[in-house]
Symmetry: C2
Subunit: 189 residues, 2 copies
DNA sequence: GCTTGATTTGAACGCTCGTTCAGTTACCCA
DNA sequence: TGGGTAACTGAACGAGCGTTCAAATCAAGC
């Protein structure tokens, strides 16, 4: 019988993931050692291998879960098409990403650290997300929907690079300013 | 007397920089070894230390030179303010960056691999570049010039992430589409 | 052709890496 | 209370890391 209550695995596993996420975001996948992650959890390096087959899986699991969660949350928050849907998408993207800056960071930074199969899987999910925005823009007056999609995604995601909690603007302030800019960019002002 | 013509240093130094640039962009600074760089140049690892004091300097020199060149080129290509200057800035940024995708990539990716002093220096240069765009936008009708600056820079730089030489659009095509989007975003359509 | 000094080699330094595994510990269940 | 097993330790593996340096090599100037 597996131990239930009090089992350390219920505690250690998420702590390993959290430590890996934090350290990967701060130093980069290649620059972080299994021993560093273990030290942050308060455990020896070998213990990590009770939960993850290898370092690469640690990164892949973080990215895969993130992209899947992102797609689900987006589907809940944004529906339909037209200007209203665009507003919703912009707000959703900025607020969701600002709550997960570390995940966003490694999702864009560490793709090259993924082995080909893992990379392809994450790319597939990223494309699916982009397609959701493209579908919204499709109904609007744009000369090149695909380019507008890519331009908007880059512009929105860029927020996570400079936003500071202590800054002059709240996440909601930023979101509303970006909603206005996105509308104009999409010719829906 | 130092050897002049035929001196290997004239050849080896730029080759080391080129190899470092390519490999850093492809695998990331931390994931690339001095031996890999040396192998690409066709030399032993020790030889690199005739030209660079340590690995960190290799990265820093690439980034510093890139940012300085960028500022000089931008000053030549873009002047004045108002909508015309914005058009010029957008065209310049996209076309200049598309010719240097590897440099752009590591300039945004490997900042965290820099030691604090080096990081501060690169940040200073990056700010100076942003300030040039902000000055242009300042004269225009925008509710938040700073945010528009950051949004535009992210949107423009994002092009280097998806642009493919074999794609349906030429760099000029992309630049013109982005000029139109930037105008609308800035309320200058 | 010899000398000189720039350039490169190749081996070595101490260290850290990802991963494995026999052995120990700690807790649940009967 | 004792047996069983999940969880973890701690040491070890071979490999590769950044960097150093004496020795070898090479080309230019006399």
């Amino acid at each position: 019988m597996a131990r239930k209550t009090g089992s350390h695995s219920d505690i250690t596993r998420p702590r390993i993931q959290a430590a890996a996420l934090r350290l990967f975001a701060q130093h980069g996948y290649a620059a972080v050692s299994m021993r560093q992650i273990a030290a942050e959890v308060g455990v020896q390096a070998g213990a990590i291998y009770n939960y993850v087959p290898h370092k690469q899986a640690l990164l892949f699991e973080l990215l895969k879960t993130h992209m899947e969660d992102l797609l689900v949350a987006n589907a809940e928050a944004v529906s339909g098409s037209g200007p209203k849907a665009l507003d919703d998408f912009v707000r959703f993207h900025i607020l969701y990403h600002l709550e997960r800056v570390d995940l966003v960071f490694i999702s864009y930074m560490e793709l090259r650290a993924l082995e080909p199969d893992n990379f392809a899987e994450i790319e597939r999910l990223r494309r699916a997300y982009e397609d959701r925005l493209e579908a919204i823009l499709d109904g609007m007056d744009l000369s090149d929907t695909k380019l507008a999609t890519l331009a908007l995604i880059a512009m929105l995601t860029g927020v996570t690079n400079w936003f500071r909690e202590e800054g002059r603007l709240s996440p909601d302030d930023v979101a509303e300013t970006y909603v206005a800019m996105a509308r104009r960019l999409a010719g829906a002002a």
